[in-house]
């Protein structure tokens, strides 16, 4: 990938929350980039720091958050972390927008959805509600809401969960952003609705060429949607690669563990479901060495002594492990 295609670059991002119990280290030195037109999945168990990462890009973390000095989130060459509020405001909802896990609580219950979708258009393009209406109807049609003209006056509670998430997507896409961050957009929805929403996202990506950072804990979603995968564990990215490589030949034992815990249709007999034993380390008190040490069946003394660095990013797969799994070549599972 050439530099020019890169729209977002996260460099040595470290974020923590001071609390009465101590410093909660939510994100510990992560690096990744997102290219134009790419769907990047950020996967990991709950509590691994996915949302904090996403909200750091939006600048919407709780105000108590502390970013370590060298942290950098570069968007078109400008650092979002140190950007002035006035400037950041022009990017939010206009060039970078976000959708959330629970569409019901994420929509204002007292405002008709038409108003809510029109709001970013009014704000960033200086249009009146009346002149934004046409675009709102177009957006609702794009996300697959039937008879959109009749829906403008509806309130969120009058729509189904799937429809609400479509409304959220329409709202996020209102100003044709370059990057959409979707934080577990289907987690709160029924399985059949999940598939529909993912479809909408995929189609929209194809049509608009938008980049998507898709946060999920569901590898099924990753397989269906992503071009590239970032595997996050305890605030670190432990493995990264294109989706085929990661699914075919994971190198980090944690990635392997995640894959093993996904039900497969084929070969379900031999490969029984295996959950990863143990729990995520407490972000208040992270271990000295590898964060995965206590749960890993490959661990050695070396792992408890020092955290493994992540390998060179020039390759199409990188990982942070002292004892990586063997690379499988051209092998069909």
């Amino acid at each position: 990938m050439s530099q020019a295609d890169e729209i977002l670059n996260v460099l040595s991002l470290r974020a923590s929350f001071p609390t009465y119990q101590g410093k909660v280290k939510a994100v510990n030195n992560i690096n990744f980039s997102i290219n134009k037109g790419e769907i990047v999945a950020l996967v990991g168990e709950s509590g691994s720091g996915k949302s904090v990462t996403a909200l750091s890009i939006m600048g919407l973390n709780a105000p108590t958050i502390k970013y370590e000095k060298n942290s950098l989130i570069s968007y078109k060459g400008q650092d979002l972390l140190t950007m002035k509020k006035k400037k950041l405001k022009k990017i939010r909802g206009n060039e970078i927008s976000m959708i959330f896990q629970d569409p019901l609580s994420s929509l204002n219950p007292l405002q008709p959805i038409g108003r809510q979708i029109a709001e970013p258009i009014q704000l960033h393009q200086g249009k009146s509600f009346f002149s934004a209406k046409e675009r709102v109807v177009q957006l609702l049609r794009m996300v697959g809401i039937p008879a959109p003209e009749k829906r403008l006056q509806d309130y969120p509670h009058q729509l189904s969960g799937g429809m609400r998430q479509r409304v959220m997507i329409a709202m996020a896409l209102a100003c044709n952003p370059t990057l959409l961050i979707a934080d577990e957009p289907t987690t709160a929805l029924d399985v059949t609705i999940q598939a529909q929403i993912l479809n909408v996202l995929r189609e929209l990506q194809k049509d608009t060429g938008i980049s998507i950072l898709l946060i999920t804990h569901d590898l099924g979603v990753v397989a269906e949607m992503a071009d590239r995968v970032l595997v996050m564990y305890s605030g670190e990215i432990v493995e990264e690669g294109d989706v085929f490589t990661i699914f075919k030949s994971p190198r980090h034992p944690y990635t392997q563990g995640l894959l093993n815990s996904v039900p497969k249709l084929k070969g379900a007999g031999e490969d029984r479901l295996k959950a990863i034993p143990g729990v995520v380390p407490n972000p208040l008190n992270l271990p000295e060495g590898c964060n995965f040490y206590s749960r890993c069946s490959y661990s050695s003394e070396k792992c408890s002594a020092a955290a493994p660095p992540i390998t060179d990013s020039a390759q199409n797969q990188r990982f942070a492990c002292w004892h990586p799994l063997e690379k499988k070549v051209n092998q069909f599972v």
Binding site: L60, R92, S97, S106, L107, N108, P109, L110, H157
Partner: protein, 315 residues
């Protein structure tokens, strides 16, 4: 839909009115003191007193007297004052106009200060504005309004001479004089309300600002004040509507004190005079209208609630 809601509410109001008026009616008759004695003076003979009591119907059982009063009241006849002979309905409605103006000003005052204090204190938590807001929140609740009234009269009327100490000018007669005459009373009447609204709105705003849809609003690129104005305030005002309804009743009650201090010829003052003179028909009229007002306010509160929150359906 709304019409059915209205009918239903009126249907509920009727038994409520009957019960409250019966209770009040009985309590009034239990007040020690005899209107006949008050009318005729201490030297009246026993026969004269008895004759007058019979003429006024006071010798009948309470329930009969109530029935008599009720059947007349339904036809719009609330009787006449025992002392001035004035029609009770005329007296009460003239007074109601005055009290309504004072209470409305107090309400406006409460909301203006409540909104101002609550919003500024939420925008800059722990700033000096926040501390002032919280300080007034406690002060307004703690200071008795009659005491505040006397202090303010001493300061602004007696010492500075800026505002009249007593009296009232209707807004329809002279708007400027109205403002002058109503400023101190409505301030005293509204200080408690302002404090209540500040406290409640502040906490409900803080709560609302932590909700998910506020995060969505920020993610669209709105700034703090836009978020509060467009998404925070209306949601935060929902619980305040109920408080405002209660406050209104509260203020109506407090006019009894405030109108006496400022010599305002309103319902409160009329209530006090009627009690002192044992002018029972007048007192019954005053109470009836006050109860009616409170029931109407409750109804309006519910309607406003339903208008603000689309999730509520009028049923």
């Amino acid at each position: 839909m709304f019409f059915r809601f209205l009918l239903r509410r009126i249907f509920y109001v009727i038994p409520m009115l009957l019960i409250t008026t019966l209770i009040v009616f009985s309590l009034i008759l239990l007040i020690p003191g005899d209107p006949a004695l008050a009318l005729l003076g201490d030297n009246a003979t026993a026969e004269k007193l008895a004759a007058l009591r019979a003429q006024l119907g006071l010798d009948q059982p309470i329930i009969m007297q109530y029935w008599h009063w009720l059947t007349n009241a339904i036809q719009g006849d609330l009787g006449r004052s025992l002392f001035t002979g004035e029609y009770v309905s005329d007296a009460v409605f003239t007074r109601l106009g005055v009290t309504f103006q004072v209470v409305a000003m107090a309400m406006i005052f409460s909301f203006a200060f409540g909104l101002l204090f609550a919003i500024t204190s939420v925008i800059k938590p722990n700033s000096w504005m926040d501390y002032i807001a919280r300080f007034f929140g406690v002060l307004g609740t703690a200071i008795p309004n009659f005491w505040l009234a006397m202090i303010l009269v001493v300061l602004f009327s007696v010492h500075l001479g800026w505002l009249p100490a007593t009296g009232f000018t209707s807004i329809s007669d002279h708007p400027v004089d109205f403002m002058k005459s109503v400023l101190l009373p409505s301030f005293c009447l509204g200080s408690f309300g302002a404090a209540q609204i500040t406290r409640q709105l502040r906490s409900s705003l803080i709560e609302v600002l932590e909700s998910d849809y506020i995060r969505t609003a920020y993610s669209k690129g709105l700034l703090l004040w836009q978020v509060i104005w467009k998404h925070g305030l209306r949601n935060a005002l929902l619980p305040v509507v109920t408080t405002a309804g209660l406050l209104f009743g509260n203020m109506l009650g407090a006019t009894v004190v405030i109108e006496s201090v400022f010599a305002i010829p309103g319902m409160g003052q009329l209530a006090v005079h009627s009690i002192l003179q044992r002018d029972f028909p007048m007192l019954q009229g005053v109470v009836l209208i006050m109860v009616l007002m409170i029931l109407i306010i409750n109804f309006i509160t519910d309607v406003i609630y339903g208008v603000l929150d689309p999730r509520i359906e009028f049923e």
